[in-house]
Symmetry: C2
Subunit: 393 residues, 2 copies
Amino acid sequence: MTKKLFMFEKPLGMRDTLPFLYEIKKRVRQAMVREIETWGYELIETPTLEYYETVGAASAIDDHQLFKLLDQQGHTLVLRPDMTAPIARLAASRLYQDGNPLRLAYNANVFRAQQREGGRPAEFEQIGVECIGDGTVAADAEVISVMIAALKQTGLRNFTVAIGHIGYVNALFLEILGNEERASVLRRFLYEKNYVGYREHVKSLPLSSIDQKRLLQLLHLRGNDKTMEDARELVHSEEGKRAVDELCELASALQLYGVDGAVKIDMSLVSHMSYYTGILFEVYAEHVGFPIGNGGRYDELLEKFSRKAPATGFGVRVDRLIEALGESEAEAAIECIVFSQERFAEALELARTKRREGKRVVLQHILGIRDIDAYSKKYQPITYLLGSGGKEE
Amino acid sequence: MTKKLFMFEKPLGMRDTLPFLYEIKKRVRQAMVREIETWGYELIETPTLEYYETVGAASAIDDHQLFKLLDQQGHTLVLRPDMTAPIARLAASRLYQDGNPLRLAYNANVFRAQQREGGRPAEFEQIGVECIGDGTVAADAEVISVMIAALKQTGLRNFTVAIGHIGYVNALFLEILGNEERASVLRRFLYEKNYVGYREHVKSLPLSSIDQKRLLQLLHLRGNDKTMEDARELVHSEEGKRAVDELCELASALQLYGVDGAVKIDMSLVSHMSYYTGILFEVYAEHVGFPIGNGGRYDELLEKFSRKAPATGFGVRVDRLIEALGESEAEAAIECIVFSQERFAEALELARTKRREGKRVVLQHILGIRDIDAYSKKYQPITYLLGSGGKEE
């Protein structure tokens, strides 16, 4: 048996967006979308529900975080946990026909089931792009640059894009640890950002002191002029060196884009999204504990939908972005005209004139109001057209 | 056992929205929302998932059309099948505190499970308003008028708003049939618009020929100057006459709003939404078989959320509205600059300049393109900045 629900309750992690927050969300969404559109990305929508077997499995979100339900044919459905997998399905099936680059964008809610109250939201809005079919580093640079430009359009300052390369980490781990199983344990410490645990685990491994040092040094390959050079020295394999080359090429492109001030190389960056295959990144803003956005290259995801294609993209979480911006905006200004029946025509004409001027005007019959003192506090200015008297503000 | 899914498939009734349709949806959405905002309505969002016991039960959508799932506490959740019930929950719990009118608006997807392929969409977008706490006919007139104004802003012409009063139909049926059970059978014929079935059923009832005639006459109480007069004569009870009075008051208000040309009284109008209690309406557009929007007064819904309040609102279905508009819009114009590595900086500068002018510009590395002939057909104009040569369009 479950407890009786109170009429007002909402499911765990589900939230209402009231007018004040809605206005901020709308402004932020429009600012980002407008910038993304000028870069030639085209917006699309995909369904809220997808098949678990196909898109659900490709999504790289932990199974216990999926909202699942059964359809009448006995298939399991999921509420989309991200937008990258649905867009990969759509691109593979209908849009990516001639093998040429596709630039798609979205703003959409995604869903992650939560285990307890007071935790994270179970539904949140993401805005992002996917550049599909282009394997060049220029495409990685563009995706990072359009993200930075879009974030700046919202008014965000003081944010950093940490950039790494999953191919580098994998190459280094394979060289030293010899197999993928051991590598995955270390990768987990990195994506949880548990550097203490990483160090301890490295020290417990049956490795030469040189190899232990190499693994520990990975944590220091961050954000200074010598990072690339050190990174190239640390790794021996072709794959590792190629990853460094790609990052160097990326860094010069980002310089041309003029966004290099906002980025920081972090060779230890690893994502919990398992589909990334190359350059990857996370965005951090002051005063927000979690990344407000992330992205990267996923050259093997479209293969899961029967069509091979390189791809890269980013997604920004609107709730965290708004947290980073702070709620500095004023509520929308709405005027009000209160009228009595006799002066309906006059009130309507006044409302019409003001609306034509672009003002937001509530037109309210006096008999619909219960508490006029409380009501008059909600709107500014408020005009009374009552009885046969005059006009009062 | 279920059949194996093809990777590209989507759940029954679920659809992708490609860029061309997205642009139309966006334009229509913005046009409606902008108009609704000038009338002082404030936009809000509610969660996609709600409790079945509370909002699901209040929604007036058939149980077999609900998408249901279980949460980890054992409660049944539903994907919201409409927006009126969630907004009633939200208003009752947080916004409707002082008993004064609230004007809320939304654009949101709602969900209705479908039984077979090729049928109706299982997820579709609605745009609407709810005016809560105002029991005056002026509020009904406003809701109908803002709907008409918003539809006109999308470019829609040739549409009709059929207006009726559920209180009238209920009063007439109760007078003649004596109980609610018999009334509900007849109401069902009306909301299915099965007038042949209605007539046959009336003739099969054990009633005097006068009463049979009265029931049949209801079908003729539509859209001419004498309709109100005839309607008042047909009904005997206080409730019935009061409903006619309200419709007369509404008609004069709509005349002042200048929208009376778009409306038509239909005393036989009945909705499948069981929560309506008074004036109600449906919008029909040329060439579209289903109503593109509907609405009405629901003075008893908020009581289900422990707070009594009169209310009225409308909802328009964006998919049907777009069908009514016809797809006359051209695709968004996007330019393209194709560059080779050597001329990256130059290409970037050109893209930047064009974007600043408000143009949408794709910047594409030549190595990312597989089939240049196909690619060049997608964008117009396309500029090539390749090798050390000149510029070509």
